[in-house]
Subunit: 209 residues, 2 copies
């Protein structure tokens, strides 16, 4: 162990913790594991993170910052490519932290702090979209639709991680095509002019695949 500035030392412990979160669900990571992996004393970990929960939330926030950074790698790409790249970055990050993502998805709803981290990620996705569209704020109907699409993405990725029932490139393409397919009805809903459909084209094909 070498002497480090307080901020640097704290960052180092979080980085070590985030590394552990790739293999261990974040809510099972304790000061012991971080101290051992960082080669420091348990007391030092407790100095920066008075409770195990402080440590876990810091690890989660660090992973969330990593995730958000990876969903908008090329702001100069076309909106369709930016969307595709963003989804790819999202899935890639989740693939690196599968156990922790699963743990977060399971307990995130009931815990205000974890919900806050999730909301930070969702807010980043929404601002990426408003930025791509070039407007300051999404109309309420579009915002509702975007929230729905984000939930669809989270759920599909969670289930896909379980059994990888379709090839990765097909999942990514589906999540992008889903966003684009949902746009026309979302715009109509926001305008108040949407009518239900009376026919479902392609229904027969499902039974024959």
């Amino acid at each position: 162990m070498t002497r480090l500035e307080a901020g640097t030392r704290r960052d180092q412990l979080v980085t070590v913790g985030a590394e552990l979160a790739r293999r261990i669900p974040f809510d099972q990571i304790g000061a012991d594991a971080v101290a051992q992996a960082a080669g420091v004393s348990r007391a030092l970990v407790f100095h920066y993170f008075p409770t195990t929960r402080d440590l876990q939330v810091a690890i989660l926030r660090s992973a969330a910052v990593d995730l958000v950074a990876r969903i908008d790698l090329d702001p100069t790409a076309s909106p369709a490519d930016r969307l595709l790249l963003g989804i790819d970055g999202f899935v890639a990050t989740i693939e690196e932290y599968p156990a922790s993502y699963l743990a977060l998805a399971r307990s995130g709803g009931s815990d205000p702090v974890l919900l806050g981290v999730f909301e930070e990620i969702r807010a980043a996705v929404i601002s990426l979209i408003t930025d791509a569209v070039g407007i300051g704020e999404l109309p309420p109907g579009i915002r509702l639709a975007v929230r729905g699409w984000i939930a669809l993405v989270e759920e599909c990725v969670l289930h896909w991680l379980e059994d990888r029932s379709v090839p990765r490139d097909q999942l990514i393409a589906y999540l992008q095509c889903a966003a684009i397919a949902l746009l026309p009805p979302a715009i109509s809903m926001a305008e108040g002019s949407l009518r239900p459909k009376t026919l479902i084209p392609g229904l027969i094909r499902i039974g024959t695949t």
Copy 2:
């Protein structure tokens, strides 16, 4: 209080509890409230439900059975109408139990029993769809897409309950049109032939609404 058969008495207490769950989050309902509303002793409630949790889970299951019954009211309707009616029944039931639904959505992920109730509802939606399509089991890619759509529905309804930012008929129409719009890319994903889109039509319109 009149003498009732054991099964009938238990059902009555659950019915009374489900009635309370329309106003009070289900996880805040206790034996006292049910006993008072049913005009029976607290001891009698505990006789049928040894713990508060047994009572709450029974109330939730009862509401779930109610919900499932209301998402397929007319199996003779066309698939598109059946979908629309099903979504309407879903939203109508949630509108009757807003506080309990919110409590379930928040804590459902982390609690295996609550997750089980949620999964029963989702399984009912999936079997309604396989039934409408006329096949025994959905191909994995379609199943993944259906799970994603269910998450989209749950999320949109939750957010809509907060501020009702669009008219109710527009929300219902959107959730139906979303399912139909997602079908072609879902079928292509299941077949492994989906390609990402390169253009996002209608993007400019968002900024102008």
